[in-house]
Amino acid sequence: MEKKNVFLIVKDVISEVLPDVDSDGVKIEQNLKSLGANSIDRTEIVMLSMERLGIKLPLVSFGGVENIEEMVDVLVDNT
């Protein structure tokens, strides 16, 4: 799947986990912490994104990702 489509799915998940965030304004280079996501929210966003994309990966594959783009890259590499 193309990166921009994966990003759209991730943005959709972000708005579901963080209802106060306007997902239209989310930029791919932002990090989830700056959107107000705590560690549990961040993990939730990773898991829901994988579910939507039908990806089965160990969660630790996302260890060390620093922003939304790096997370999207891991997802794209495994779709």
């Binding site: 912490k33 107000g36 996501a37 705590n38 560690s39 549990i40 929210d41 961040r42 993990t43 939730e44 990773v46 898991m47 160990p58 969660l59 630790v60 996302f62 260890g63 060390g64």
Partner: protein, 419 residues
Amino acid sequence: MQLVGIEMLNIFGGSAYLDVDQLASHRGLDKTRFDNLLMKEKSVALPYEDPVSLGVNAAKPIIDALSDSEKDRIEMLITCTESSFDFGKSMSSYMHDYLGLNRNCRLFEIKSACYSGTTGLQVGINFVLSQVSPGAKVLVIATDISRFLVAEGGGVLSEGWSFAEPSSGAGAAAMLVSDRPYIFQVDVGANGYYGFEVMDTCRPVADSEAGDSDLSLLSYLDCLQQSFSEYQKRVPDANYLESFSYLAFHTPFGGMIKGAHRTMMRKMLKAKADVIESDFEERVFPGLIYCQRVGNIMGATTALSLVSTIEHGEFYSPKRVGCFSYGSGCCSEFFSGVVTAESQEYLKQFNIADKLDQRYPLSMDEYDALIKESTTVRFGTRNVKLDTGFLDGVRNSSDMPRLFLKEIKEYHRLYEWSQ
């Protein structure tokens, strides 16, 4: 099937505690969505408390309730910790002395981060099951403190790690393992274990910690799913929802367990949000109540959650409790056992809730002074006499005699009983 499990179980949740919300404000932590982390209080080790004193204080009421002949059947004392102050000498040697146990006893120590207490428990269970010494008992003491602040500097391993301070507590769990499992009758062979190498949280330097909290959470969730899957292979009819009346988790902080349980309910059962929420309240929350008061006591936390489950659950009929233990680095295990109304009655003798209530409430100023004072007992301290007048009110805040560190003399630790 031979009976085996925990004959008696007690928790020592320290002598002083701190309000975690106050600490987060004081440290200037980002408190957006802080309530979701479900943290309330944490026990704090005083300069004259260490893993030995905490462990002895947890085990003493159990030992005092045994007859001399029962006490003499303790043939193994295992300390389980990531907070020891000596690379060679096992802390179990000190505890053996202050508890006055039989010398025909194996004394050793286990390290496996927060999985250590479960490791010790499983070693004890397997010793009893082996029947090489019929009737023998094993005393497993998981004891941990988090005395100093985070390792300074660095990139990845310090990022977001500031939340470790509010979540890290101090305390110990003592478990007497035998063929009389009055508290927790273990389901023999019902164990799913799972481990692999990951650098999530660690203690690579003396008196400090480092970690990547996001990676640790991800690893915890991977392990929970994988160890439960392995448990299911060994117990084919096991169902995450129906097989366990309660679930006791290793609890770094409550919010993490809520997230972990949500993941399992969704993955295993495709459950909807309202079902997950009510199931969390019913089956998981009883095990979080003491964890929210003591904080993460690492190797002892799974046992703390089990005690909390037994004391706050409803056991008019025998019920199965599923337990999950995770230790960074990492190794994990899902296992289970049965708790009865008698288990609840037996635990009452230890007045665990009352003892938590009796802890001294630290002000932020006192907490900061305590951290400074604790540098007097840094790892490697050769000689020091502890200032017993430091926060004197704490030493007398309990109605039970407690062991405190008195002096370190040529590296040898000397303790004294209060009252």
